[in-house]
């Protein structure tokens, strides 16, 4: 490595050391990432702080990331336009008679929501308002109510469409259509694991049960929700048929949600639209600003070839494909505790890609392991956005709901392990529906 003033080790020490010190001082993550790059940009003669600008500009100047505000806007329009209300009613007629009714509805609604929106934070924000208070009033524990709302929100990025899959496909060039199909089965399994957890809780703590809905009630609710339930088919189908790109499909979802709200359900007024737009701008900008500084951070790691040095060790362990799978999941789970999922994909996903390739892991399986692990990172402390949002809505500190969240994560982890041990779980649907995407 000629012409490089710092070694990989010292560069990594400055980057990671600076980052963690700044985090402890409660500097916002986006700023901590950018600031920890600064000393290196000044020390290294070939670089200058202008790199910071070039790389952030390049990160934001991306058509793919446009999908982030679109998916958030879809979710916000669903909430103000009455789509969410219909889906709640439908979920009620489907699982209302199970033990722990309201919590079961919470999980099932997340599945529907996940099929329309691709944003877990939007799911956590809207469902916390719907469920936490209501569940506590019916006698559910507050900590349980927060935890189940937060952990079910992570389904939104596992079941298509998904912001994380769009970003993953863009950064690590994997077919987004294949990722969408691959996410369906793991997502449904995780939802099943969560419903089983709720069942167990409901039996232990005697949570209330609603009377079973009649078939007629179910059919009426299903009919009313039918237009909304078409959304995932439009999005995923449109991509698979080559009608539109992933970003365009997100814009189509926005238009479809807007049309449903205005013309079909007729519950939207200008003030609500303004609020939905403002909320979308706020949340997506704050999340995406972090992507820019994370890109600089990741770029510097690559400049000093830090990933190569780190992975040299791991390669020498001689792990098999399953071992590597567990290693990848572990790495993403740890990183997910401290970083948001999108920056984590940019920094860690690209780092681990050669390792996955070295054992001939299928890129789609690699992506699903990474995305599911990072989705779990949305509820793990200290930096778990969904849990933070749910706790903020309930006005309690993060640690309050920690125990129940960790208990609920155990069955979810088993599903993740299953996806590592049996690659067929993520791969079977894309193989059946569109084998050409797996090439």
């Amino acid at each position: 490595m000629t012409g490089v003033a710092l070694t990989a080790g010292s560069a990594a020490a400055i980057l990671f050391g600076g980052f963690f010190l700044l985090l402890i001082a409660r500097v916002p993550v986006a700023f901590a990432l950018g600031l920890s790059c600064l000393p290196i940009l000044i020390i290294e003669p070939r670089l200058s702080p202008l790199t910071l600008f070039n790389e952030t500009f390049k990160a934001y100047n991306s058509f793919i990331l446009l999908a982030v505000p679109f998916f958030l806007l879809t979710a916000n329009l669903m909430n103000v336009g009455g789509i969410t209300d219909r889906l709640v009613r439908l979920s009620r007629t489907m699982v209302g008679h199970f033990p722990g009714s309201l919590a079961q509805i919470n999980v099932v609604l997340s599945v529907f929501f996940a099929g329309i929106s691709g944003s877990s934070t939007a799911d956590a924000a809207s469902q916390s308002k719907i469920f936490i208070d209501a569940q506590v009033k019916e006698g559910y524990g507050l900590s349980f109510s927060i935890a189940i709302t937060a952990v079910s929100a992570v389904l939104a990025v596992i079941i298509p469409p998904s912001i994380l899959m769009v970003v993953w496909g863009g950064v690590i060039s994997t077919s987004i259509g294949a990722l969408y199909l691959a996410g369906i089965l793991p997502g449904l399994l995780i939802a099943g694991a969560q419903m089983a957890t709720v069942h167990a809780y409901a039996k232990i703590y005697h949570y209330p049960v609603y009377p079973r809905a009649t078939l007629k009630e179910f059919l009426v609710a299903a009919l009313q929700s039918l237009p909304a339930l078409f959304t995932p088919f439009i999005i995923v189908g449109g991509i698979l048929l080559g009608w539109f790109t992933p970003t365009e499909s997100a814009a189509v979802a926005v238009l479809y949600a807007a049309i449903l709200s205005i013309f079909v359900y007729r519950e939207m007024d200008m003030k609500k639209v303004y609020q939905a737009l403002a909320d979308t701008g706020r949340l997506s900008a704050v999340a995406l600003f972090c992507v820019g500084t994370a890109s600089v951070f990741g770029w510097l790691l690559a400049y000093y070839q830090v990933p190569r040095v780190l992975l040299e060790n791991v390669t020498s362990w001689g792990l098999g494909i399953t071992g590597v799978g567990f290693f990848i999941a572990f790495a993403f789970l740890v990183v997910g505790c401290f970083l948001d999922a999108i920056p984590a994909i940019i920094i860690v996903g690209t780092t681990l890609q050669p390792l996955a390739e070295s054992v001939h892991m299928h890129p789609v399986q690699f992506a699903i392991i990474g995305i599911v692990s990072l989705a779990f990172g949305l509820v793990t402390p200290p930096y778990g956005l969904c849990l933070m949002i749910s706790c903020a809505v309930a006005k309690v500190p993060l640690r309050f709901a920690l125990k129940d969240t960790l208990i609920m994560l155990v069955p979810m982890m088993l599903v993740l392990a299953a996806c590592i041990i049996w690659p067929e779980i993520p791969l079977i649907l894309p193989r059946l529906i569109s084998p050409e995407y797996l090439k």
Partner: protein, 160 residues
């Protein structure tokens, strides 16, 4: 003084809403032109969408500093009012440094794009690059404002 900050804050939210709303338009045009013959297939739509997007991110990042919504990791135990204000001041000093970097090198960055035109729509690039120094300047203002507020908390608790 607070009135002026509030006014600027509201203007930024307004612009943010505008960018999000406009963002949908060029992408929709792009799809429409592909499937219908109604409008010609403009190639500037993609570039325009990207540039609106950059402004949306930067404006949102400016607002986030005043609203305190940039995500933080909370590893410190719960602190008292005074210690909390002290920690805020320390973290704000770091954000301040970043703001100054954005202003100082951001001006150089904008200068560098002064004569450049964008590849497709031939828009002047400084109109995009200037978002960086503007963000730095805005952070400087907002951080300065809450700096004063936190200092007041500190001084009050000392007096007590």
């Amino acid at each position: 003084m607070k009135f002026l900050f509030d006014l600027y804050h509201r203007l930024l939210i307004w612009l943010l809403v505008g960018t999000v709303a406009i963002l949908v338009v060029p992408v929709t045009l792009q799809i429409l032109s592909r499937f219908t013959g109604l409008i010609p297939s403009y190639i500037w739509t993609e570039e325009l969408a990207r540039f609106m997007f950059i402004w949306m991110v930067m404006i949102g990042a400016m607002i986030g500093v005043r609203e305190g919504t940039h995500f933080e990791v909370d590893v410190l135990p719960k602190l008292g009012v005074r210690a909390d204000a002290l920690v805020r001041i320390v973290s704000h000093v770091f954000v301040l440094v970043f703001a100054l970097v954005f202003i100082w090198w951001g001006i150089a960055f904008t200068h560098f794009g002064w004569d450049q035109l964008s590849e497709i729509a031939e828009l002047p690039m400084w109109m995009i690059f200037i978002a960086w120094p503007v963000a730095g300047l805005t952070w400087l203002l907002f951080i300065g404002e809450s700096f004063v507020a936190n200092l007041r908390i500190l001084r009050k608790s000392v007096a007590q």
